[in-house]
Symmetry: C2
Amino acid sequence: MMTTIKEVAKLAGVSVGTVSKVINNQDGIKENNRKKVLDAVKKLNYEPNIHARTLSSGKTNLVSIVVPTVGFEFQKIFLKSLDDVLRKSNYDSVVFPLLSRDRLARFSSESNFLFHTDALILASLSPKNLFRDGRVPTRKPYLIVDSHGESSNSVIIDNYLGGHLAGKHISLEKNGKLFLIGGYEPDDAFSSGVFSERKRGFEDAIRERGIESKEIEFKNIVLDWNQAFDFGARISRTEKKFSVFSVSDLVAWGFIEGCRTNGLYAGKDFHIIGYDDLSFSQKIGLTTISQPISELGEIAAEKVVEKIKGAANIENIVLSPRYVERTSN
Amino acid sequence: MMTTIKEVAKLAGVSVGTVSKVINNQDGIKENNRKKVLDAVKKLNYEPNIHARTLSSGKTNLVSIVVPTVGFEFQKIFLKSLDDVLRKSNYDSVVFPLLSRDRLARFSSESNFLFHTDALILASLSPKNLFRDGRVPTRKPYLIVDSHGESSNSVIIDNYLGGHLAGKHISLEKNGKLFLIGGYEPDDAFSSGVFSERKRGFEDAIRERGIESKEIEFKNIVLDWNQAFDFGARISRTEKKFSVFSVSDLVAWGFIEGCRTNGLYAGKDFHIIGYDDLSFSQKIGLTTISQPISELGEIAAEKVVEKIKGAANIENIVLSPRYVERTSN
DNA sequence: CTGAAAGCGCTTACAG
DNA sequence: CTGAAAGCGCTTACAG
């Protein structure tokens, strides 16, 4: 039913080896034969079977990208920059969003397809938390991105530094409370450790300013605008002067909106610093720790291509975030 | 290097056929032999080569999902519900976000991996706009989801009806302007036609209420909170009473925030109806057209599994959105 | 420059 | 219940 290379060879009057070379753009084929093959290919509407090609050549030209979820701008920016660079080396990215705990079981077996492309990028996810024995179940090259405490190849943005920058710059009110929100990593399997690092950096910076880190009230909130909204609405009912470090802009935004329901405004009635610097952040005047997400994707792509080509060195690349002041702090 | 089924067979002292049956959980194998095989598998740390399996069996147990992008809640909900159902039939979903025009070229070739899984779901994308000849370049079963005007198998949410509901319920101010925003589909390749349908339904409903559809001012805005914010800020500087139908909640939200910069509030100073009903919509009191996104994913999964099993009928399933009134209209 | 053939690592009738 | 062997559709030395 499917036409095969054999049928093409027969119609073109050449051997399958010759057809193979033509469809793979190899040279050293007489123009005459090349033409005959191309004609036969067109006539039979031939399309090579990529599974046979993979089995035979041992390569897929695919790179698996595992991400915890897909609903956020972070993934969009990251995946786009990553794919833009991969494409230049003739690789395609295929995305595997973890999405749910149920799906994790499938992702934990080496027989899953995701482990059988040319390489694997694990983004915003930690092997330690993800896999039973803490090891990525594959023999293919892989790279850890945006996740802390890895000994294998990794590319991250320095989250400790980001938190530290926030702690260094946050405006404090005399007798005002200090909140750290949004650092909750609820499900072990899904936590990458980046929030804890931000928290740690923040606390250290605060301490360096002579403030007891006990004075920080830590509020567990998942990456969720609605929860942050509720929390802001609740806090602003009783507190009237305070400072906030939110470990994500989305949570900061929700919090700010919640506070507004009680007439409290960021930058005026309270100080807040977020984390990420997404497209809405500038619009809402959010002072934040800006993450070079595109760069993260680009470098990850470059490094994974090097790995596929056989680079054996272990590299842990650490990019730096920066403090971006707007009106909220 | 990689251990193969042959080595397992040798160590276990059986034939490769027997090994194959054991690792595929087929019965009709003597318990004694099964055990020997399992021991050898464990000892050699054997993992079947899935590419060989695919070539031999002709199936991947994978379903490709093509989506235009990944940064939005819509995709998150859709992909999750889809995968939850696929998993029950032992299929894994692999996601291919289009992301950019550059990537489209790769997606247009039948030789791309995405066309070589067991089936394909094209979500929020139209073959007409995507592919040169308007045809999906595959011989595998496929399904169109959330895209209008398709003659092949499809599952959609009735966008005309959604727009019509909005037009029927929108509150109109005497002498106030009526805006329709967010319906711009900027890049042909990326447009699914759903916005045009919503617009059409809206205009018809307005007309049925005796209003000239010419009186609607149509504002091109892509699915972008920031642009909508700017537009809201600009409009609210001059207009003081108006009604708005936004073809997405995200755009409605940005617009509302923009208006607030001039002290105009939704539901009080102006009326607005959005579209989608996402997690933030309730929080901000947005009256909207609610889309059954999870259901869309579930039904798409069921239908694509039927297709894989060989169902030959052509079905176009149309789900219904509903009007959800909150405070903004 | 080309062809014949081995090989990639599985699955699956088929014979016994 | 099991084994020998054909077959899936390619790629790739190798000989000429």
